[in-house]
């Protein structure tokens, strides 16, 4: 389709939570037949309401599928080296561990849950580095860590304190620095700025963009804040009820959204200088354990047709960079 190199790809990925509730099996379809192809040197944004499965999708992309989450079907490919694509779902735990931090790293929302509260940051760094780098080169890595901290504009003594002594924004920046330390090819951020104040958020986003620019790697960013996506993402996937329903470049998503859900998401945002009445997306998101038939958005959709209640539409490729799964736009490819 185009000549960009795909670093991460999924095929019909299905990851469900299977829970035993009082003897009956409850299945939450958090990631349902997702096909993604994420390129090298781009920031890919995933947007959607809470409970749409975006965090679960990230967990699956990070190849961290632990019970009660189960991989029901599909494959996840990482590109290691130039031509070699490997299906990482089949790897052993030790092989998975090796890929982390070096090939793919994870930035969580609450930085307090990564940094050990009773250790100084230096010791946390040591832990991380020791598990990935052997023997003598550790000191080199540590020197690198100091250099990187200065480059990123963090104070020099930041490693000599405990996590609680730092403000939330500083802690989040240290977490991001740590995630970028081994120059991973892919960095995954799960709402990395959601808990922060706007000015701090801007600083953290600035830092993420700088890192991406320097390393020329891939960042997959999940957030429900469309403003953040508009500011950082190159391409955006809109997720609804475990499925990607629209995917396009940032300009197209904001300029010509085609899926009614995307249109709602964008039009419900208040804008400065415009006091016209804005309505929210009607209704509430469906439960992943009890999805409506057909297109999962149909109970909230103002343009619902008969077929929407019966069958999930496939993707219609509007142009090279824009695909939508909606009956209003086209029949789609079912395959």
């Amino acid at each position: 389709m185009n000549n960009k190199l795909t670093v991460l790809r999924t095929e019909q990925l299905k990851a469900f939570y299977v829970l035993d509730v009082q003897g009956t099996q409850k299945v939450a379809k958090a990631v349902n037949e997702v096909d993604l192809a994420i390129y090298e040197n781009e920031i890919y944004g995933i947007a959607g309401e809470s409970g749409c499965g975006k965090t679960t999708l990230l967990k699956a992309l990070f190849n961290d599928i632990i019970l009660p989450l189960r991989l029901i079907g599909g494959k996840i490919f990482y590109r290691i080296g130039w031509d070699e694509e490997i299906d990482v779902t089949t790897l052993s735990p030790e092989e998975k561990r090796k890929l982390r931090l070096e090939y793919i790293s994870y930035i969580p929302q609450g930085s307090m849950s990564v940094l050990n509260p009773v250790l100084k940051l230096r010791e946390t760094y040591e832990d991380f580095i020791a598990s990935h780098v052997s023997g003598q080169s550790r000191e080199e890595i540590f020197e690198l860590a100091y250099k990187q901290i200065l480059e990123l504009g963090l104070p020099k003594n930041v490693l000599d304190v405990y996590p609680h002594q730092l403000s939330g924004g500083m802690r989040q920046r240290v977490t991001i620095a740590l995630a970028a330390l081994m120059k991973p090819r892919i960095m995954i951020g799960d709402e990395p700025t959601t808990a922060l104040d706007v000015v701090v958020q801007r600083g953290v986003i600035q830092m993420l963009k700088d890192i991406q620019k320097n390393l020329k790697n891939t960042i997959i960013l999940v957030t429900h804040d469309m403003g953040v996506h508009a500011n950082v993402a190159d391409r955006i996937g809109i997720m609804y009820a475990g499925k990607i329903v629209e995917e396009a470049t940032t300009e197209l998503i904001f300029g010509q959204p085609r899926h009614p859900y995307t249109q709602f998401l964008i039009n419900s945002l208040p804008k400065f200088g415009d006091k016209n009445v804005r309505s929210s997306v009607p209704g509430s998101p469906p439960s992943l354990a009890n999805l409506p038939s057909g297109c999962p958005f149909h109970p909230r959709c103002p343009h619902v047709k008969e077929i929407c209640r019966e069958q999930m539409p496939g993707f219609t490729q509007l142009d090279e960079n824009h695909k939508v799964a909606c009956w209003l736009v086209g029949e789609g490819n079912h395959g």
């Binding site: 309401e49 809470s50 403000s167 939330g168 924004g169 500083m170 104040d197 706007v198 000015v199 701090v200 958020q201 801007r202 600083g203 986003i205 600035q206 429900h224 804040d225 469309m226 403003g227 953040v228 996506h229 508009a230 500011n231 940032t250 300009e251 904001f254 300029g255 709602f264 998401l265 964008i266 419900s268 945002l269 208040p270 804008k271 400065f272 200088g273 006091k275 009445v277 804005r278 309505s279 929210s280 997306v281 509430s284 998101p285």
Partner: protein, 321 residues
């Protein structure tokens, strides 16, 4: 009555540390504002700016170090808490921690109706509750006998607004009511605030860090920074044409949902929060792009510029006072 609520020179100090190294932090520093009937007034700022402290004192949860609160022309003290529940109600950030997970949601409503003797029979109580629920787009049948976990966050937040309405308050204090709610559902909450103001004449003290919804919904706004109100006026004036350098920074840092409006400049983040609190002179001097020598030593006065209150030395030439 011209002013529904008046807050005068409210100051709250916390002391930190021990006897030898005591640090006094001023969380709210001579904060003054008023709210008119049927008006939405926003108190905005980042975390640690003192907006929640101010709300807590107004609600009587904490005692002010100095300053007064006047409600309906009557000065209020913390001991006479009754005014709070009668004319003033509160909504909080997290609806899931507002309600006890082991109690049905309707029991809160019945309790309030009984405490305020708003109904004589059970049917009257149900009718009264149903009326309030319909204002927020729900009904009694939908919610009777259900537990908090059976509702979504947005629904539960609307229920807590309905609960606040049970006593027919004239003022609702809403502390970050939308920050736990998805952006797509935020509008349903703020649209509700508009409706309460326009149809019932309820005033709302809207405390938030979300300037976009603040612009959309409120009439007047005060921006707080490290315990001080640094700019106050109509939302049009303050947010469309911010005068204080901090208001400008705050306004520009909101990510706009438009890829054409990406940030082009970079920001400097604060040093330790505490250092900014303890700063002499203007608290923003440490990272203000337009800083002058005077800012580092002298606290700027409250100046009136085109009808907007601005606490900045930049404007001291235009007007003395």
């Amino acid at each position: 009555m011209d002013k529904l609520l008046e807050v005068n020179e409210l100051t709250k100090q916390y002391s930190q540390g021990n006897v030898i190294a005591r640090v006094i932090l001023t969380a709210a520093d001579h904060v003054s504002f008023y709210i008119k009937p049927a008006e939405i007034f926003t108190l905005a700022g980042e975390s640690g700016c003192g907006k929640t402290t101010t709300a807590k004192i107004v609600l009587g949860f904490e005692e002010a170090t100095s300053g007064t609160i006047v409600h309906n022309g009557k000065p209020q003290t913390r001991k006479e808490k009754v005014w709070i529940t009668e004319g003033v109600q509160a909504i909080f950030q997290d609806p899931f921690s507002t309600f006890n997970p082991l109690r049905t949601v309707d029991s809160y409503f019945h309790e309030t109706v009984q405490n305020f003797k708003l109904a004589r029979t059970k049917q009257e109580a149900i009718d009264h509750i149903d009326k309030k629920l319909r204002l927020v787009g729900l009904s009694y049948q939908e919610f009777a006998g259900k537990y908090p976990n059976e509702f979504s966050g947005g629904q539960l937040q609307r229920i807590s607004i309905a609960r606040a309405l049970v006593t027919d308050p004239k003022l609702i204090i809403a502390d970050e009511p939308v920050s736990m709610v998805d952006a797509s559902l935020r509008m349903s909450i703020v649209n509700l605030f508009k409706k309460l103001r326009d149809e019932l004449g309820v005033s709302i003290l809207y405390i938030t860090h979300d300037l976009a919804t603040a612009y959309y919904v409120s009439d007047r706004i005060a921006i707080m920074f490290r315990g001080n109100i640094i700019e106050m006026g109509s939302v049009e004036q303050v947010l469309m044409n911010p005068r204080h350098p901090y208001s400008k920074l705050l306004r520009d840092s909101i990510p706009q949902a438009d890829p054409k409006l990406r940030w082009t400049s970079t920001v400097t983040l604060s040093e330790l929060e505490q250092e900014e609190y303890l700063r002499r002179g203007c608290k923003f001097a440490g990272r203000c792009p337009e800083v002058m020598d005077i800012c580092k030593g002298v606290v700027p006065a409250d100046l009136s510029v085109d009808g907007v209150l601005v606490k900045c030395h930049k404007y001291s030439d235009t007007q003395k006072g």
